[in-house]
Amino acid sequence: MPERAVRLRVNGRDLVGLAESRTLLSDFLRHGLGLTGTHVGCEHGACGACTVLVDGRPTLSCLVLAVQAEGAEVLTVEGLADEGGLHPIQQAFRERHGLQCGFCTPGMLVAVKALLDENPDPSEEEIRDHLAGNVCRCTGYVGIVEAVHLAAQALAEDAR
């Protein structure tokens, strides 16, 4: 199958890569652009591990073809923090034990970013509702919910 150039703005950088029209955005990010922070779990939209932001909206990158994302602005887990540091959401996950094996974490972090961008002070119910599509087999979610509350507080303090 012929490849074509796909232009994306990923984590603030304009990037071009080659993709077959059947290539998934998740595979394009990992293999085409070398951004392996985005994890691929179920590859059919059931687990949420591959969640990225496309034009600011949480999106399952395994359910989008790379060519469909042409011209889009994409945020992956690599784009959350400045070089060498942790984003307040990452810091909060670390402090509240919001991860163990870490496989679901990139998708969780990006999904939480989408939530807090829109709703800076979510209730537990809203957090659980928003993250219902992100499956974690280690934590039992309690640490994740606490981490989101903590991240919300940290971001609110940063904004002050």
Partner: protein, 258 residues
Amino acid sequence: MLAELGDDARVLAGGQSLVPMLNLRLARPSALVDVGRVAALSGISANGTLRLGATTRQVDALRSPLVAERAPLLSDALHHVGHPATRSRGTLGGSVAHADPAAELPAVLLALDGEAVVRSREGERTIAAASLFLGPFTTALDDGELLTELRLPAPPAGARHGFAEIARRRGDFALAGAAVVVAPDHARVALFGVGPAAFRAEAAESALAQGAGAEEAAKLAAAAADPADDPHAPAAYRAKAARVAALRALLAAGVSRA
């Protein structure tokens, strides 16, 4: 273009049902026609009728004040359609055209007496919701026809609605669900997840018109269900869940219990 490519080509809209099928190799179309960037197919407007472009993203409809005002049943139901990340891309028309028996939007279209506008090289026609859903993943659209718009008429005066769904986890496909609209001399009860396609429970509707309470109407609605055994739930459980979902939706719509 669909006509030229033949019946092995598939329309790709939001891709939240079709791409999983491609990834699992359950579908192997010869060509995909991506309608995602056709601006004329998306957007929400209203005169007497609420018009929803087929590729309107579910999240945009969920957040639309116009939808909340004109079709609050649709807003309620959209909260149950997948997860935030699938609603970002999933479209209204895609969900209707895909016609998953457990999907919410076909039942909403039935309960609101909606219509689907479809277009082909031969021209345009509208299909009433009541004749749209023929079976699992099967609609009345012909090969070469594209769903372009959903139309919802203004609800009758004094209409109230209810929506209820029973699923194993938030955002999962329903084991059973119900969408209800009631007004003076008007009742619509649509069930999903408990038959080969979403359907209107007409016996329950006529009973409501004659003053039946929610308990009785829910029982009649569930009696019209035709659930199958599957790995998620046995048929008997789904039938029970259908009665409970219908009861909850009817109570939410203000129908008295007895």
